[in-house]
């Protein structure tokens, strides 16, 4: 297999922060150059990436990380180019501040996945924790662009404080999905938790499962928005989300809100025939 391969030398005994591994330009870097990049370890402080991973392969713009990275935080954070693939699980803040390129996580991801993401694509084949696509602590804005695709379930406050971009969830989302969102879109193929799209300004929450809009939303109509046809076909064909023809051709109950904010946002709830 071509590309760079990073194989964990031994199971992680404590948390590590891998942000520095791919944040700077890396697609042309050799294994030796990548190995010299310094990352942070809770047990040892700053360590070269090569101490944690055996790195080999040929640069071609892609990298694959193998091993249990549940204790690894900020995997792919700051990524701006290339394709980083993780075979298994990762810890918190994977893909944070990602602005380009593609990060694909084969297993589950922790909290705050893709927080502050500005562009590019993050795909999580398993579940994510809370605050996927949301804002980092102390920041006013969550995602400002790009696409976060979660094929499993997502936790609470998914898409909180989003400004732009798309979060697509193949399963369910927790409470306060799209909390305080400025704009942007969250698609949930499963049920959406309580307090959906609370304090949402102009964002769109699209629910293929059950949803209970709050009292600060008002029912508008039943509609077949054409833009959902484009969006759903892309999510199905490009990302493999469980979107069916019934969803693409379906009718949606539109709720406007949140009227405790501007009222320009929407919840579109699929209405099975």
């Amino acid at each position: 297999m071509s590309g760079i391969r990073l194989t964990l030398r031994s199971p992680l005994a404590g948390r590590v922060d891998l942000r520095a591994a791919f944040a700077a330009s890396w697609t042309a870097a050799t294994p030796a150059e990548l190995a010299r990049r310094e990352v942070w370890s809770a047990r040892s402080g700053t360590v070269p990436l090569g101490e944690l991973f055996a790195i080999d392969g040929t640069p071609d713009g892609s990298a694959t990380l193998a091993g249990d990275l549940t204790l690894a935080e900020r995997v792919g954070a700051g990524l701006a180019e290339g394709f980083v693939r993780v075979d298994g699980n990762v810890g918190d803040r994977a893909g944070a501040d990602l602005s380009g390129g593609r990060l694909e996580i084969g297993g589950n991801a922790g909290d705050s996945t893709a927080e502050g993401m500005a562009g590019g694509l993050v795909v999580v084949r398993g579940n994510t924790g809370d605050r996927a696509g949301a804002a980092a602590p102390g920041r006013k804005r969550g995602m400002t662009g790009g696409e976060l695709v979660i094929l499993g379930n997502a936790g609470d406050e998914t898409g909180a404080l989003m400004r732009r971009g798309l979060v697509a969830v193949g399963g369910t989302t927790g409470c306060c999905t799209l909390l305080s969102t400025i704009a942007g879109t969250v698609v949930a193929c499963g049920a959406v938790g309580a307090e959906a799209a609370l304090w949402n300004k102009r964002g769109s929450l699209i629910c293929l499962g059950s949803v209970d809009p709050s009292a600060t939303y008002r029912y508008a109509c039943v509609i077949q928005p054409v833009y959902l046809r484009l969006l759903f076909r892309r999510l199905r064909d490009v990302h493999g989300l469980p979107v069916t023809a019934a969803h693409i051709d379906g009718r949606y109950r539109r709720y406007s809100g949140d009227f405790s904010e501007t009222g320009k946002g929407e919840i579109l709830a699929w209405s099975p025939a």
Binding site: G145, R202, Q224, P225, Y227, L230, L231, R233, R234, I248
Partner: protein, 300 residues
């Protein structure tokens, strides 16, 4: 050079550089696709009087369109770059926005030159409009009484060629029309071209300017009018009593050449005397389509 007894003149069609946009129009059914496309491309035969030239390029299957509904591809062409956005906003706003169930997409998404369309039409939404980025492309959702109109924010603009042509010189009007219809049928649906005139055919070919009026930028091509054979310097052989012209615009020279080849070949039927082409001595248009080269397979 002769094709099935029809003389092919040793001349060329002189064509011009224009700017084009490709629109993909979809709707709930073929009926509304057709209604929208016919209105959009109506009164768009020549920039001389219509400000733009437009036509249906081809029908698109549900599998080909962005939203999986029936659709058509339309090409709209203008002479100047800054005209394209104006014409698109006018026509999309008046004919697609107004037509039930339609949506309008950019058919040239990879073109680096962009013109604003949805970003201008959005103001019809009176502040209730919203946008969505899907697959890296921004669309505007404009609320309308029926529901919502979806239109791409910008459309790609590319250089193209307008005014490719050939003239069918026939023994009588019936045979000229039959040959023109055969040519149009052969050219119909070929990729990258439109035939902007009614049914693809022009009966009133023009020359530049006028002998009588200084304000006329074009007037009847008297050299090819059979009724004027006796009173003007005619270009018609004695046996010719009717002439029809096919005008073809295309996204590139190859598309124009290919369509002219198909059209001329189909037009060579009994009763057609010769095929010629309109030009201005090569002084006005940079694109020269030599009939004999095209029919010899060499293209423009």
């Amino acid at each position: 050079m002769k094709i099935r007894g029809v003389h092919i003149e040793d001349t060329f069609a002189e064509a011009f550089t224009m700017r084009a946009a490709r629109l993909v129009i979809t709707a709930r059914s073929d009926r509304w696709v057709r209604e929208a496309a016919l209105k959009l491309t109506g009164f768009a035969t020549s920039v001389i009087g219509c400000k733009c030239e437009a036509g249906i390029e081809r029908a698109m299957t549900e599998a080909e369109t962005p939203d999986g509904r029936p659709g058509v591809s339309v090409l709209l062409m203008v002479m100047a770059k800054d005209e394209l956005s104006k014409r698109l906003v006018e026509r999309v706003g008046q004919t697609i926005l107004t037509c039930p169930t339609t949506a309008c997409y950019d058919g040239l998404p990879d073109a680096p030159d962009r013109v604003k369309v949805g970003s201008s039409l959005r103001y019809f939404g009176d502040g209730y409009q919203s946008s969505k980025v899907i697959g890296g492309q921004r669309f505007w959702r404009i609320p309308v009484m029926e529901g919502e109109f979806l239109v791409a924010e910008t459309f790609g603009m590319v250089k193209c060629i307008g005014g490719g042509n050939f003239l069918i010189l026939a023994e009588d009007a019936d045979r000229a029309l039959a040959a023109a219809e055969a040519a149009v049928d052969a050219m119909h649906g070929m990729p990258g071209i439109i035939l902007p005139f009614p049914g693809g055919v022009v009966r009133s070919g023009s020359k530049v300017g006028s002998k009588r009026s200084k304000t006329m930028i074009a007037s009847t091509n008297d050299a090819y009018c059979p009724t004027l054979r006796a009173v003007t310097t005619t270009a018609l052989p004695d046996t010719v009593n009717s002439v029809l012209e096919i005008v073809v615009n295309g996204l590139d020279a190859a598309a124009v050449s290919d369509s002219m080849r198909a059209g001329i070949d189909a037009a060579c039927i009994p009763g057609v005397v010769s095929i010629t082409a309109g030009n201005y001595g090569g002084k006005l248009g940079p694109h020269h389509f030599k009939l004999r080269d095209i029919m010899g397979g060499k293209g423009a």
